[in-house]
């Protein structure tokens, strides 16, 4: 079973994403911000991370840079999932090491298709 870490400060988004991911046979864990996510990855890196941009404590971009600079032996796929839908944001995320990008709001088909694109679904 593939593992997915959902990183979002919105409980509702985490709940919706968890529901979709569980129907896609993922084992899901959650984090409320980038720092909590980084700590989780240092213990056990998931196959894929669904990552919000704007969060308290540590933003999605700061988390992504820290993750890519870290000594974690595996390279989890990172799918940004955010309301920042402009091309400049998308380009910045990809340049920082994101593998895919989901523009909120999203639905099951969108999420499934993006997970297939990065090769985890």
């Amino acid at each position: 079973m593939k593992t997915c870490l959902v990183v979002d400060d919105s409980k509702v988004i985490r709940k919706v994403a968890r529901h979709i991911l569980e129907t896609l046979d993922f084992q899901v864990s959650e984090a409320c911000d980038g720092r909590e996510a980084l700590e989780a990855c240092l213990v056990s890196a998931p196959d894929v991370i669904l990552l919000d941009w704007n969060m308290p404590v540590m933003s999605g971009m700061d988390f992504l840079r820290a993750l890519r600079d870290s000594s974690i032996p595996t390279r989890p796929k990172v799918v940004f999932c955010t309301t920042e839908n402009g091309m400049a944001y998308i380009r910045a995320a990809i340049d920082a090491g994101a593998d895919e990008y989901v523009m909120k709001p999203f639905d099951r088909d969108t999420l499934e298709s993006k997970l297939q694109i990065v090769g985890v679904a």
Partner: protein, 288 residues
């Protein structure tokens, strides 16, 4: 025609069973598409914008407008709203890898390959092909195949020609790097760049009743179209495609579709797994 239609949905636009029967008959007569029980439940959703535009409250009122014959456009508008236009980029992704093999084989003849996307809806399939082969051309210099895309719906075709997609549509199947390269943001929508859309010739064509596009094709993609058609309409479409394929040409159907038990014109391809080609008898008849 489908024998049983679902009753009008509670809370949906009111419509008598006879109105729904008339609408189903119109759709089948014009397109060969059958309104299955499942799809009839979505009928009110599909027709709601048309009713609103015409200031109508019920499906029966719409059917009255259709039957009184004073407005000839109403039939076209109903059919346009009812045809299934669901599509996504790189739908059934493995097919595109298999197709790449077939395209290379057809290019072995030294000619520019011709592809017909039959029933292209809002254009995601031909655009997916255009992106793949434009990127290949940039890498290798191999010409982009000629892509002809047809659909029965003018509304769908206009959207395909414009290459404009909502946020939901653009995200289904399209890798973000391709979106960044080939599309520009415009408010909440994303628009294909002209250098992409100009690689495709869009044409209105009813697969049941019209003649095929001019010329012969190396590959015809007709995916997720036949499953909505009645057996006689399927036979018409198979005959149309058979006539449009070059000798040795390849037919690509949807993941849930097959020629087996459906037609004597095609058989599973021996060269390309999952695809189809004219039967030996048909090829010999061509050669004779």
């Amino acid at each position: 025609m489908t024998a049983t239609l679902a009753p009008p949905v509670v809370g949906a636009i009111p419509g008598s069973p006879s109105a729904m029967t008339v609408l189903a008959a119109l759709l089948e007569a014009r397109t060969g598409q059958q309104l299955s029980s499942y799809r009839s439940w979505r009928l009110d959703t599909a027709l709601k914008p048309l009713l609103r535009a015409r200031g109508l409250d019920t499906l029966d009122q719409l059917v009255m407008q259709l039957l009184d014959g004073t407005d000839r456009a109403v039939g076209d508008l109903i059919v346009d709203a009812l045809v299934n236009g669901e599509s996504s980029f790189y739908r059934d992704l493995p097919i595109f890898d298999q197709l790449a093999e077939a395209i290379v084989a057809h290019e072995g003849n030294g000619r520019r390959v011709r592809i017909w996307s039959a029933g292209c809806a809002t254009g995601q399939e031909p655009l997916s092909l255009a992106m793949l082969y434009a990127e290949r051309q940039a890498e290798t210099g191999t010409p982009v195949p000629e892509i002809v895309a047809t659909d029965i719906s003018d509304t769908a075709l206009n959207r395909a020609r414009a290459g404009r997609y909502t946020q939901f549509e653009i995200q289904r199947g399209l890798p973000i790097r391709r979106m960044m390269h080939w599309f520009d943001g415009d408010g909440a929508d994303w628009i294909a760049k002209p250098e992409l859309t100009r690689l495709i010739q869009f044409r209105r064509l009813n697969l049941v009743g019209d003649r095929g596009p001019a010329g012969k094709f190396d590959v015809v993609l007709c995916r997720n179209v036949l499953l909505y058609l009645s057996p006689p309409a399927k036979a018409q479409v198979f005959a149309l495609i058979a006539g449009a394929l070059k000798p040795g040409g390849t037919l690509v159907l949807g993941a849930g579709e097959t020629v087996i038990g459906q037609t004597g014109l095609f058989e599973p391809s021996r060269r390309f797994r999952g695809f189809y080609e004219r039967t030996t008898a048909e090829r010999e008849r061509d050669a004779a």
